[in-house]
């Protein structure tokens, strides 16, 4: 069973000629089949956690370990992490001009699966996945994220999630900027992947809204670079009613 183990993770970032510690000792274990929601106020370090796990060069790991099935993730390059089974659905997916969605998806699937998918089954696979996400087939001919609306970008991220079948999926504020219809479609996509039981999901969100569609097994409250409270789905209800104030007003020793 695939397991992502984060132990005492410390991360800094360079900003305004100063080094700032953003993550201050994160501990978290995500197992295949589990869904963990990480919730927290703006600036608490949620996205830093997501990007650090994926290996974004902007972040410097200063301490701790991250293991995926016992393998040291922090030693891997960004593409190696993806091939090892980590997937990051980004909050702000990047435009890649000149590269069509269909070319991108196939290149990516080839890299992740270790061999080029057979063309005929691949075309069908992509087409069906796109239909499930209510994406027009003309999407495949557009350049990656170029001119996509916010909802289209997020659906495109979830399309990749469905096609690449990672061991651990990190969804960074996938719900932000979505209207209710788009949120439902995107959530259904995530749920299809979860129902396979083959993915561990780390759902990072600012709002509880998405948790009505994607039921987490665990909820963690993130504040000042650490997990400050963990619980079951009921913790989200508490946050819904009380907000983050209890965690941001000195309730935590950072």
């Amino acid at each position: 069973m695939a397991t992502l183990e984060i132990r005492d993770l410390h991360v800094t970032v360079e900003a305004d000629n100063a080094t700032k510690e953003i993550l201050k000792g994160v501990d978290l274990t995500v197992k295949q089949g589990e869904t963990h929601a990480i919730m927290g106020p703006n600036g608490s370090g949620k996205s830093t956690l997501a990007y650090s796990l994926a290996g974004h060069p902007k972040y410097t790991i200063t301490g701790g370990t991250v293991l995926l099935d016992g393998e040291d993730v922090l030693e891997m390059s960004v593409d190696e992490r993806a091939r090892a089974g980590l997937f990051l659905a980004m909050q702000y997916p990047v435009e890649v001009p000149g590269v069509s969605v269909s070319n991108f998806l196939r290149t990516s699937a080839t890299a992740i699966r270790g061999e080029a998918p057979k063309l005929r089954t691949w075309v069908k696979e992509v087409k069906e996945a796109m239909e499930r996400l209510h994406m027009d087939t003309s999407f495949a001919e557009r350049n990656v994220n170029e001119g996509f609306s916010g909802g289209e970008k997020k659906r495109h991220e979830i399309l990749q999630l469905e096609l690449l079948r990672p061991k651990v999926a990190i969804l960074d504020e996938t719900d932000s900027g979505l209207d209710v219809d788009a949120l439902r479609i995107v959530s259904e996509g995530v749920n299809r992947v979860r129902e396979t039981g083959e993915v561990g999901t780390l759902l990072i969100t600012h709002y509880t809204r998405i948790l009505r569609y994607i039921k987490p097994d665990f909820v963690h409250v993130f504040s000042a670079g650490r997990i400050v409270e963990s619980g079951g789905a009921e913790l989200a209800d508490k946050l819904e009613n009380e907000g983050y104030e209890a965690y941001t007003k000195g309730g935590v020793s950072a």
């Binding site: 390059s77 593409d79 990047v94 890649v96 000149g98 590269v99 992740i112």
Partner: protein, 393 residues
């Protein structure tokens, strides 16, 4: 590429649309066009047409100090049956019909060449194989003149391939009879030290179709001046260009489409990738729609993809419209950067860094490569792009 977004440091993109009766693109030149080098003062570098060019790297082509050497370049022409290939003297009446030199180097070339090449495709002759002109630099200084003339309703593809090392200034004339169809592919695949300055003049006959594909990879300094004018209505010109500018290279393409007769079309698409310290690409796209050119339909576009720090792009489209009675006129210029975020995104999907870069550059050029229509050139180009990319990583 996002329109004019994402502009790297050290690059400029500028555009202007002028509706003017007096100040035309053609008259912005500091001296009027002339065949005689003496009509042009030696440029000092601040003139509009020279301000982007490093004069000190022209090896004397601009100031009269570059003296032709015996074995400057070797020219070999391979032509299918039915085509006439000649070397003619300076006084041949077929020379200089398509256009007049617009700067000192072009005039120097016209004043200094000894023999001109003339390739003629007789009227109504439709070639199935390309005419190939191999221009190979032997390390010397050379001035050249080449004429390619198609009779009425003739059809031909011409590949002009520049390789080796040379300091070369030349004029190339394309004369298209009524209803003729000419595709010219000019490949600048020079060695690193070569200097190549050329003016291409196309005179496109009534209902004729001219397609120019300019592919620039090599050289220390390449400065080309593809120009089009029309001899009758109903004609069409497509000007495609593709360049890959490496560290230290200066590659400059200055285009002019002169809509001087009514009901003609033009479409200009130039795309360039740049990498390395001191890589400098210049694109000037001038389109002039003269008052009499009603029914004109024109579009010009320049796209640049900057792959590394230290490269510079100057991209200046100019559209001057002297009549409102046109079908369409547009232009666009954008310079984008293959940045760390794009690289991260692709790598986060399992794609290794070098493959990610290839994916982006191939995608950037794909559409244009397909426009070439000459198989072996397309293949060579794709292979060359691969080689250029390997040099980056």
């Amino acid at each position: 590429m996002a329109e004019a977004q994402n502009i790297p440091v050290g690059s400029t993109t500028a555009g202007q649309i002028a509706v003017a009766a007096e100040s035309t693109v053609a008259t912005r030149m500091s001296a009027p066009a002339s065949f005689d080098v003496k009509d042009f003062p030696v440029p000092h570098g601040r003139e509009e047409e020279w301000r982007f060019t490093p004069l000190e790297r022209l090896r004397g082509l601009h100031d009269g100090t570059a003296v032709a050497t015996g074995e400057g370049v070797k020219v070999a022409v391979e032509a299918p049956e039915g085509v006439t290939v000649e070397l003619v003297d300076r006084d041949d009446p077929r020379l200089g019909k398509a256009g007049t030199p617009v700067d000192r180097v072009a005039a120097q070339a016209y004043s200094a060449f000894e023999k001109a090449g003339v390739v003629t495709v007789p009227k109504e002759t439709v070639l199935t194989e390309p005419i190939r002109i191999a221009v190979h630099g032997e390390g010397g200084v050379s001035y050249g003149h080449q004429v390619i003339e198609l009779g009425a309703f003739a059809e031909a593809v011409v590949v002009i391939d520049h390789t080796g090392d040379a300091v070369l200034a030349a004029n190339v004339d394309y004369v298209l009879g009524d209803g003729a169809k000419l595709t010219v592919v000019s490949v600048q695949d020079w060695d690193d030290k070569a200097v190549h300055v050329a003016q291409h003049n196309a005179l496109v006959g009534r209902d004729a179709t001219f397609k120019s594909v300019v592919v620039t990879f090599g050289g220390d300094l390449v400065r080309l001046h593809p120009r089009v004018a029309y001899a009758g209505p109903g004609a069409e010109a497509e000007l495609f260009g593709l360049y890959f500018t490496d560290a230290g290279q200066h590659q400059e393409h200055r285009l002019l489409v002169d809509h001087n007769v009514p009901h003609c079309k033009s479409n200009v698409v130039y795309k360039g990738a740049l990498q390395g310290e001191g890589a400098h690409a210049v694109w000037i796209g001038d389109v002039l729609i003269e008052a009499k050119a009603e029914g004109t339909d024109t579009y010009e576009m320049n796209r640049n993809l900057v792959l590394t720090d230290g490269a510079r792009v100057d991209s200046v489209p100019n559209l001057e419209i002297e009549t409102g009675e046109i079908v369409g006129a547009g232009h666009a210029s954008a310079t984008g950067r293959f940045d760390d975020e794009q690289l991260f995104y692709l790598m986060a999907r399992g794609i290794p860094a070098d493959e990610a870069r290839r994916l982006v550059v191939r995608g950037f050029f794909a559409e244009l490569v397909q426009q070439i229509g000459v198989d072996d050139i397309e293949e060579r180009l794709l292979a060359r792009i691969e080689t250029e990319l390997e040099a980056t990583v």
